[in-house]
Symmetry: C2
């Protein structure tokens, strides 16, 4: 079952966008560029979605409100892929794994004739998919394990500084959503503690989320592989092992929230069926809670996908949101801009 | 190995202090009673220990210092048992388990003749110890698993509101160390983020640590059992399973720190060999770091134990502290008072 979840996370390479990365510096994302003291959500168009957010926050933070929530209980959880940054044409972590295989290939001449590595090196998607669950687990373990946590952090940081997204030709960590940055800031300004709760790798996210989202490393929940402490003759390291520790997806999200945060959220945001259990869990809070789904409806500026998508499938969640009255962001109509770099144009 | 660790945590009932709890209200601990604007550590006697703490904090928080540490990197981790509250004559969580067995016994008539429950019900320590690792695992699972997280939280809260420590006849959560409360406050006033990193159960600590120590639930790292999400026909719960998930002790502490916090501490405090790897890990920080061990030296006001103790053994840690120049608190001489309730006398 764990492997199936990994499969659902990674086995999603639908395009041949295997363009090799170029060497370039990451520009610092100007996340606060357009916040003003008047409108906390300037990149959101006026309408029911924006009103719903503001009405909720004002309601639960007013001391005299029947729905007042003490500060300590103001926990807000955000999915990452497809909720805080893009996830097309494949999860960005998969691009990282593919780039790792290519970078490591010179030390692994045997990969030229060994699947799934051969498929990656030849940009051969059909063979990669044919390598199945076993092949993909091997791909993940070879590229994510067998090194120390410090070494892995450096790999991620270096990759972000050089790799570019195939469609936008921008560093991956610039493909974050400006309206969501404003939402995070707005919640924090109202004493919500903001967390990431993502199916993505916890150690893949931690190196860059502080700068990108203003969320500290210890407020990141994600999938993980097992690790072990090694005293290493007085120069201690933590080694990443070839073994899954935890999959933070679907029913794993409430489990991860309970384990890492220890308190039920009052505010949750996601974009796919993988977030549905987190939404349900939040919805069961005895405090007034708020659920907000990002619906990808903008082919031109981002992507449009939902019920049939192999990445970020949004089917059961869309039905349950409608049934339970959760807020659904219509990206095309609710967001004035998508990415921070649009502000500079 | 995991079971051995559990064993080392729980198999430590050395006395027959199995006194049944009485019904009484917990008094709110007046943790800030004696802090002043002049002396941040008023319950600490003047001397090398207090000086070492203050010198460190002043050094690393001064912008112009060579040892300046940015706020985001000011992570301070504290063991709980024996470091923030007492752990004698047995870990307080074991008293909880024993009281649970007694409370549950009426629904389990078979326990009268079944070990390890029979031993607990008869206050028969020898037989309890003879039940071995298997018996103790059974004791833990019967008293800590098979219920929802909400139910478990209520059990812990109710227990703290009624149970009394056999020696002091006080609620267990009043046996916290006033000097350490001041240290926590002092660090936070200097923008350190304070965490608990304990071998104790994470869900046993979370219900009361916020009030006791001012540490939010999401800043608690501890041992855990596996859990599972259950939609439960629209009233979702998280169920506690009869399976160990993680043991946050010894080499597990750096692993837990990496998993939950994602950043190496600069300040660590413990009291036993179970904290040694956390100390080593912190000591390997490229920032100037600080390690401080609580040495239990006060038979009169608390307890005195170290190298030979079955609870909180402090042997390798004592040697390594001396070798590496870590700070060791001499409880008897460094602390003016031990518990907050002494202030009221």
């Amino acid at each position: 079952m764990k492997n199936m979840a990994i499969l659902s996370i990674f086995f999603l390479l639908l395009t041949s966008c295997l363009k090799q990365a170029e060497n370039n510096q990451v520009e610092v994302v100007a996340k606060d560029t357009i916040t003003t003291s008047v409108d906390p959500l300037p990149s959101w168009n006026e309408g029911v979605t924006k009103d719903a957010i503001i009405n909720y926050v004002e309601d639960v933070t007013k001391k005299e409100s029947d729905n007042y929530i003490p500060e300590i209980d103001r926990i807000a959880t955000f999915d990452n892929d497809g909720t805080l940054w893009s996830e097309q044409p494949a999860y960005f972590q998969l691009f990282f794994a593919i780039d790792r295989v290519k970078a490591m290939a010179k030390d692994h001449p045997e990969w030229k004739n060994k699947q799934p590595f051969k498929a990656v090196l030849e940009n051969d998607i059909n063979s990669l998919m044919a390598s199945g669950e076993k092949g993909l687990m091997e791909l993940i373990m070879k590229t994510h394990a067998g090194i120390t946590t410090d070494e892995f952090e450096k790999l991620v940081t270096d990759w972000l500084a050089t790799a570019k997204h195939p469609r936008f030709n921008k560093p991956y960590n610039e493909l974050i959503y400006q309206p969501m940055l404003e939402l995070l800031d707005y919640l924090r300004a109202n004493q919500f503690k903001t967390f990431i709760v993502s199916g993505g790798g916890i150690e893949f996210m931690r190196p860059w989320v502080e700068e990108a989202y203003g969320i500290p490393k210890d407020q990141v929940v994600g999938s993980s592989i097992a690790t072990e402490y090694d005293y290493n003759n007085g120069a201690p390291v933590i080694r990443r092992l070839s073994k899954i520790d935890f999959i933070d997806d679907k029913a794993g999200k409430p489990v991860g929230i309970n384990k890492f945060i220890g308190r039920k959220p009052v505010f949750a945001s996601g974009n796919s069926d993988g977030d549905l259990q987190m939404m349900q869990w939040t919805d069961s809070n005895s405090y007034k809670s708020f659920q907000i789904y990002v619906h990808h409806t903008d082919t031109e500026r981002e992507w449009a996908y939902d019920r049939e998508s192999h990445i970020g499938q949004f089917n059961k969640g869309l039905d349950e949101a409608s049934e339970k009255g959760w807020t659904v962001i219509d990206m095309k109509n609710d967001w004035k801009i998508i990415y921070p770099f649009e502000l500079e144009q």
